[in-house]
């Protein structure tokens, strides 16, 4: 036996257990020992499952960042694509993504939040409201490519916007709308009804109660939902592919507002798809760097949302 093993250390002889020690009353039988063993094994098995699925994901994401390092610098972020996108940077794509996200949020956030307020605070509880609620919840799970079809049918063709930033961001807005509505409703529903009733009894109107009691106490939840939606909108590719994204557009380097709303634009997610599948001979570090910027964006915004949720939970008011 190796001298390093603790069992080989000279252990003091076990003291005789006093009869009042409660552990002496419960001597472990074979049955309980087996039970404890299965418990231990179950814990290990489930832990291993969690590790087996989550660790590789972390490793892969880490791998993306490591492989991206050679290409990842300030010039890459603010530079223009060169030599048919085999060199240079991603600035137009980054700016395009910002355009799409901001425009879609400008449309979806107010409408979504107010629609959530309407459904949770004003709508009467009848079959129509229930049907709308059901439709909203389920639309949140409809595939993004179906939203792309909707965008093509409604905005590009029917509304005559053509392929443009407007059409693409409207499509994104409609895609994020159900999720924003659901998030808003959940945040509002977390404020107990008794507060509302107390205020109504004091002669406050519905809106006054919403403004003074309900919204201040659900604001954090709504904001968290909105931030998560920004993440999703920024990463989506399918809905913008046919409604406004373009493979390449010449803009000035580092120019902050390179597009008009009626232009088509480049977008980071679509750019990643393009350089990875359509263009042969793009240096690998550039591919990884593009993916890393996209993942980094998501990571930053998600951390915002998580930090906010933790802070909210810390100062709960009731």
């Amino acid at each position: 036996m190796s001298p390093l093993q603790p069992s080989s250390a000279p252990a003091p002889a076990p003291a005789p257990v006093a009869p009042t020690d409660p552990s002496a009353l419960f001597t472990a039988t074979d049955r309980t020992r087996r039970k404890l063993l299965t418990q231990r094994i179950a814990g290990i098995v489930f832990g291993a499952m969690a590790a087996a699925i989550l660790l590789p994901l972390l490793v892969i994401l880490g791998y993306i960042f490591v492989r991206a390092l050679p290409a990842l610098d300030w010039g890459f972020v603010t530079g223009l694509p060169e030599q048919g996108m085999r060199a240079g940077g991603i600035w137009p794509a980054l700016a395009g993504t910002a355009y799409l996200v901001v425009f879609s949020l400008l449309v979806a956030a107010p409408i979504g939040v107010m629609a959530g307020i309407y459904l949770n605070e004003f709508a009467r509880d009848n079959w129509f409201t229930r049907a709308v609620n059901l439709a909203v919840v389920n639309l949140a799970g409809v595939p993004s490519i179906v939203h792309a079809l909707f965008g093509v049918g409604a905005f590009v063709v029917f509304a005559g916007l053509g392929k443009s930033i407007l059409a693409a961001s409207l499509t994104l807005a409609v895609m994020t709308l159900p999720v924003i509505i659901v998030a808003t409703k959940e945040a509002l529903a977390a404020v107990p009804r008794s507060f509302r009733e107390a205020c109504w009894n004091l002669g406050a109107s519905r809106w006054q109660v919403i403004r003074t009691i309900v919204l201040p106490n659900s604001f954090g939840g709504i904001l968290t939902g909105l931030i998560l939606e920004v993440c999703r909108a920024a990463g989506e590719t399918a809905p913008i592919m046919f409604t406004g994204a373009i493979v390449f557009k010449a803009v000035e380097s580092g120019q902050l507002l390179p597009y008009n709303p009626t232009d088509q634009c480049m977008a980071l997610s679509y750019h990643l798809h393009t350089v990875a599948t359509q263009i042969p001979g793009v240096p690998e570090p550039m591919l990884y760097a593009t993916a890393a910027v996209l993942v980094g964006f998501v990571l930053v915004f998600n951390s915002f949302a998580i930090a906010m949720r933790v802070r909210l939970r810390a100062k709960k008011k009731w």
């Binding site: 969690a50 389920n138 599948t277």
Partner: protein
């Protein structure tokens, strides 16, 4: 310089608009209530607009000489053929089905196992950390997953399985499975948390170990919630677009046949979603191909809507039961 000026002007404008909006919010009750009602109605319009516009574009294909057997039961998808275009989606359905089944094969056990571990077997700190991790993984864009499939899984599969191409059902199945795991974990975790603590306390008071509690109390009590989690995972897998577009290899095949082992995970396939994503750009607007793609959209819509509806009803059923 001009750009800077433009931005400052823009910021001033935004500040002004925000201030105006605050004034309305604070003092104009009637306006706000009207606005809220308008937004509620317009959200409803948008919701039904989605149904309307997809059906509107796909309708001509569905109404004029729609060949049911040729659409659902044929594997001949030749949408761009000059003389005899054929629109059989069987191979595409098989593609979606095989990827989904393969993905669920490991996403379901691992997802549920992880959910059980998070909610029953680990400490508070680990729990918080894992939940944040899962949430973050759920937010990674699908195009990044597709990229991982192409750049990481592809060479790995070629090397390990000795396959000619690494972009196939196996690759897509793994990638989509990894994407579905966070969905399954978070919803299953919700379902397990919804089991009242009294149940656990009661079982433990009778001398049950954690594992027995999970097996005899948690699983039966959270059964329908776990089912909903699996269903939503399936919905996510069926609707996934970019990842399968990049990882399946994009060739129309049915990865099943009569020869053993009956299922060939190393074959490249094409899914319903990927077909739309790959072909909508080339299909001339209003043409037969274009309408056929919208009909694919209707099929996808119907499948995912049905899955979500069932999952939603299950979850609602749980809440009502409480």
């Amino acid at each position: 310089m001009i750009s800077l000026l433009k931005i400052m002007l823009l910021l001033a404008l935004v500040a002004g608009v925000l201030y105006l909006m605050y004034l309305i919010y604070r003092y104009c009750e009637r306006t706000m209530v009207t606005l809220i009602h308008i937004c509620g109605v317009s959200a409803i319009v948008f919701v039904f607009g989605i149904f309307f516009f997809i059906f509107r574009e796909g309708a001509p294909f569905l109404l004029k000489d729609f060949d049911f057997g040729g659409f659902f039961l044929s594997d001949k998808w030749y949408p761009t053929s000059e003389e005899n275009p054929r629109f059989g989606i069987l191979a595409l359905v098989a593609g979606t089905g095989s990827v989904t089944v393969l993905a669920m094969l490991f996403a379901v056990p691992f997802g549920l196992g992880t959910a059980v571990f998070i909610s029953e077997f680990c400490g508070r700190k680990t729990k918080e950390a894992l939940k944040i991790l899962v949430e973050f993984l759920a937010a990674v864009p699908s195009v990044v997953w597709g990229f991982i499939g192409m750049m990481v899984m592809n060479p790995l599969i070629i090397k390990l399985a000795d396959a000619p191409v690494g972009l196939n059902v196996l690759n897509a199945g793994i990638v989509v499975g990894l994407m579905a795991v966070p969905v399954i974990v978070s919803i299953a975790e919700d379902a397990i948390r919804a089991v009242p603590d009294e149940y656990r306390a009661a079982a433990e008071a009778l001398g049950a170990t954690r594992w027995q509690v999970v097996r005899k109390v948690i699983f039966p009590a959270a059964k329908s919630g776990l089912l909903a989690a699996v269903l939503l995972g399936v919905g996510r897998a069926v609707g996934e677009t970019m990842a399968v577009l990049m990882a399946t290899g994009q060739s129309i095949n049915i990865p099943f046949d009569g020869n053993a082992p009956f299922f060939h995970p190393l074959q490249s396939v094409q899914t319903l979603t990927a077909t739309i994503a790959a072909e909508l750009g080339e299909a001339p607007s209003g043409g037969h191909h274009y309408q056929a793609l919208f009909t694919l959209g209707i099929v996808l819509f119907a499948i995912t809507f049905a899955i979500n509806l069932v999952a939603d009803l299950i979850v609602k059923g749980i809440r009502k039961g409480k």
